[in-house]
Amino acid sequence: DTAVSQTPKYLVTQMGNDKSIKCEQNLGHDTMYWYKQDSKKFLKIMFSYNNKELIINETVPNRFSPKSPDKAHLNLHINSLELGDSAVYFCASSHVGAESPLHFGNGTRLTVT
């Protein structure tokens, strides 16, 4: 069973469109995250939710809106897509606590044309 699963794996879309990426974890974790990996492989946190509550919101354009219907799901909706949004988006989850490692999904490669 996949612990953290994201869909879709690849997403190719045109500028101006609205798209969503879904994430689900079956590890019983109470914290979920979205990370963005750019073309230079730099990983940066975007959002973090703990028990459906937003706890980390980095400097991300408000075109990006995370939604957590329950603690096992954290979806990412992106409005008015721009070329610069092209990246690999990783969902992750963990228990609360500094020593708890993150478990990552396989990533969603978003290409905006």
């Binding site: 953290v4 914290t31 995250y33 990370y35 230079k40 492989k41 730099f42 990983l43 940066k44 946190i45 973090s48 703990n50 706890i55 980390i56 990783f90 992750a92 963990s94 609360v96 606590g97 500094a98 020593e99 708890s100 490692p101 993150l102 478990h103 990552f104 999904g105 396989n106 990533g107």
Partner: protein, 110 residues
């Protein structure tokens, strides 16, 4: 502000040679340090964490608070070690923000 620096973008070594991937951090306190690895076309996964003091796949990392470093080492590189390696930092006592370094691509050549 917490920051993680990995000075080498690419490290190329021959099989059997020692490997050291450098990681320096800045944080006022005692953070938790991790190494994550991303093999080609695979998800990012935890390699090891300093709190466990363990050796995983022959890799070890020692936290040096004086030098604020957490370098990853392996005495003899294997071809399957070729991957992208990320050093990461998490603040202690709550707060789940994991900050990653820019990553080092390790290439082990025959």
């Amino acid at each position: 502000a917490q920051r993680v620096t990995q000075p080498e973008k690419l490290l190329s070594v021959f099989k059997g040679a020692p490997v050291e991937l450098k990681c320096n951090y800045s944080y006022s306190g005692s953070p938790e340090l991790f190494w994550y690895v991303q093999y080609s076309r695979q998800r990012l996964q935890l390699l090891l964490r300093h709190i466990s003091r363990e050796s995983i796949k022959g890799f070890t990392a020692d936290l040096n608070k004086g030098e604020t470093s957490f370098h990853l080492k392996k005495p003899f590189a294997q071809e399957e070690d070729s991957a992208m390696y990320y050093c990461a930092l998490k603040p202690p006592g709550g707060g789940n923000k994991l900050t990653f370094g820019t990553g080092t691509q390790l290439k082990v050549e025959l």
